[in-house]
């Protein structure tokens, strides 16, 4: 903090506002935007990965893989997000600590589940109670990212499954007639063509993912919505910068942020859709071919 901000109650006007907006808590608030962007950057590819594996499994000729893929899609899609977020994070956390419990706790320790409590020996805590606050934050964030990836992966799996089914059968048959193996058909024909069918569904998911990031707060990660609510709430003289209820302004700021995010995404996705349609046997691809000719 700057030296001129040492006594915020003595200053007024613009310099007060400047000091207010550069307080430690506001700096945390600005970093939390990065947290959200980081979550998107990690979750989107991870969810796509989950989705791809899920979709491939769901249309596999091998029955157990097919059942596994379909169960994953049906289960995650069928449970409300909030319930899933609340349940899964706790379950994942306990599962990790249970595995560590088996590995490091002295033999004969009682099982961690005791009535309402979940208790492992101190050595098995993840992260350890002695770890710095940064590790606790990182661990919480990672749990959240994995949960997001699994939930959105299930939706992505269904979209990709549909897209794979939408690739015209004739295309695959032609490839087979050329003597390509199943794997080659999958890699060279099916996957490159399915993206243009998958993109509208995937872009919907991406938009929903952007708008779902405030769920981070449910998972104990302090995101921008948490800070907006916390900073905007009215502050008495107990605080260094007392003020009234300013939540409206903070939320207006968030509104602008989210609108910018979705607008930029729309533009980029539009460009991507154009790229993917090029040379495809779809209406969009045909229109492009005609325009070029």
């Amino acid at each position: 903090m700057l030296s001129s901000c040492a006594d915020p109650k003595a200053i007024e006007g613009l310099s007060w506002l400047f000091c207010y907006l550069t307080s430690g808590k506001h700096i945390d608030f600005y970093w939390s935007f990065l947290t959200v962007l980081l979550l998107l950057a990690i979750t989107a590819p991870a969810a796509l990965g989950f989705g791809f594996v899920g979709a491939t499994a769901a249309r596999s000729p091998f029955l157990p893989a097919r059942m596994l893929g379909k169960t994953y899609i049906a289960m995650v899609r069928g449970v409300p997000d909030i319930i899933y977020f609340l349940f899964f994070v706790i379950a994942l956390d306990q599962a990790i600590e249970y595995l560590k419990f088996l590995a490091v706790c002295p033999a004969g320790s009682p099982l961690p589940w005791q009535g309402l409590e979940f208790r492992v020996c101190p050595e098995a805590k993840v992260p350890l109670s002695t770890s710095s606050a940064g590790w606790h934050k990182a661990y919480g964030f990672l749990l959240a990212a994995v949960t997001f990836a699994i939930v959105f992966g299930a939706f992505a799996a269904n979209v990709l499954y549909g897209a794979m089914q939408a690739v015209p059968r004739a295309q695959l048959e032609t490839a087979e007639a050329y003597g390509m193996s199943h794997k080659q058909v999958f890699r060279r024909i099916l996957v490159p063509q399915m993206w243009s069918y998958a993109l509208p569904g995937l872009s919907n998911l991406w938009m929903i993912l952007i708008k779902a990031t405030p769920l981070l707060f449910l998972l104990g990660v302090k995101d921008i919505v948490y800070y907006a609510r916390e900073l905007g709430g009215s502050k008495t003289q107990a605080y260094e910068f007392p003020h009234g209820d300013w939540r409206l302004y903070y939320f207006l700021g968030l509104l602008v942020f989210y609108l910018c995010m979705t607008r930029v995404s729309e533009i980029l996705l539009g460009k991507l859709a154009g790229r993917l349609s090029r040379g495809q046997a779809t209406a969009a691809g045909e229109a492009m071919r005609k325009a070029a000719a």
Binding site: I90, S129, H136, R229, E230, A238
Partner: protein, 250 residues
């Protein structure tokens, strides 16, 4: 030689484990002057100072964690932190799921904050924070309760007319009434609910609870607890303190 090595290893391990005990203190961080997150982004308030002092007296290393009020007890039980120190009143219902230390603040008054002195508490809903003793009190005493997740929202509900009044700890509401410029007033009627404010522990953590109990008692005995309570930035000189009652059995 082997035995010596083994013994050394065991001693080193034991020492490492003893030093590894960091106690995580969980608080809400939204209830000044009890606890709040200050403009530097750190936990502050009465309970911050108290908690740090208690840890010093008990010889423990402590760190602070904030958690939503709603899930503060479940997260204690699942081991996210070891102690709740969040202005939590001792009640028999909570006593069934957690164990309390002895109280560090005597049973305090709860007050009603309303738009005018003559507000009729039966004419509309009374706001209170979810899972507080005040919310239970309102519901049990023939008034309609409307619950909010944070203390901030309960006050906002009174301001915009969703609720006739808000029932909360007087120490929380008084600065809000004082600084509202007359827009919000405290009613003359007050309630004394709960068995004082204490720290909450997992039922299985009797050893840790014993350490904090002893530390609280020692602060009551030498009067430092009372001196801390009446500090102007916390509860002020008019607040009820422990006095002679706290010194019994020293």
């Amino acid at each position: 030689m082997k035995k010596l090595l083994l013994a050394t290893a065991l001693v080193a391990l034991g020492a490492g484990m003893a030093a590894a005990q960091t106690v995580r203190l969980g608080t809400e961080g939204a209830y000044p002057p009890y606890n709040f997150v200050n403009d530097k982004g750190e936990v502050a308030g009465f309970e911050r100072e108290l908690g740090d002092e208690l840890c010093k007296r008990a010889g423990l290393t402590c760190t602070w964690v904030t958690n939503e009020w709603d899930s503060i007890i479940p997260n204690l039980q699942s081991g996210n932190y070891d102690v709740i120190i969040a202005g939590m009143s001792i009640t028999p219902e909570r006593g069934e799921v957690v164990d309390f230390s002895q109280p560090y603040i005597p049973p305090a008054s709860s007050a009603y904050l309303a738009l005018s002195k003559d507000a009729d508490l039966k004419s509309g809903p009374v706001a209170a924070q979810t899972s507080t003793i005040q919310a239970a009190f309102v519901a049990e005493n023939g008034m309609t309760v409307v619950e909010y997740a944070t203390p901030e929202e309960t006050v906002a509900a009174v301001k915009n007319g969703e609720a006739v009044a808000v029932l909360a700890d007087k120490d929380y509401l008084k600065p809000i009434a004082d600084e509202s410029g007359g827009a919000l007033v405290l009613l003359d009627r007050e309630e004394v609910i709960g068995g004082g404010v204490g720290m909450a522990f997992r039922k299985s953590d009797t050893e840790l609870r014993g350490k904090f109990d002893a530390a609280i008692k020692s602060m009551k005995c030498d009067g430092t607890l009372d001196a801390m309570i009446v500090k102007p930035e916390y509860f002020g000189p008019e607040t009820k303190v422990w006095g002679e009652e706290g010194k019994q059995g020293c």
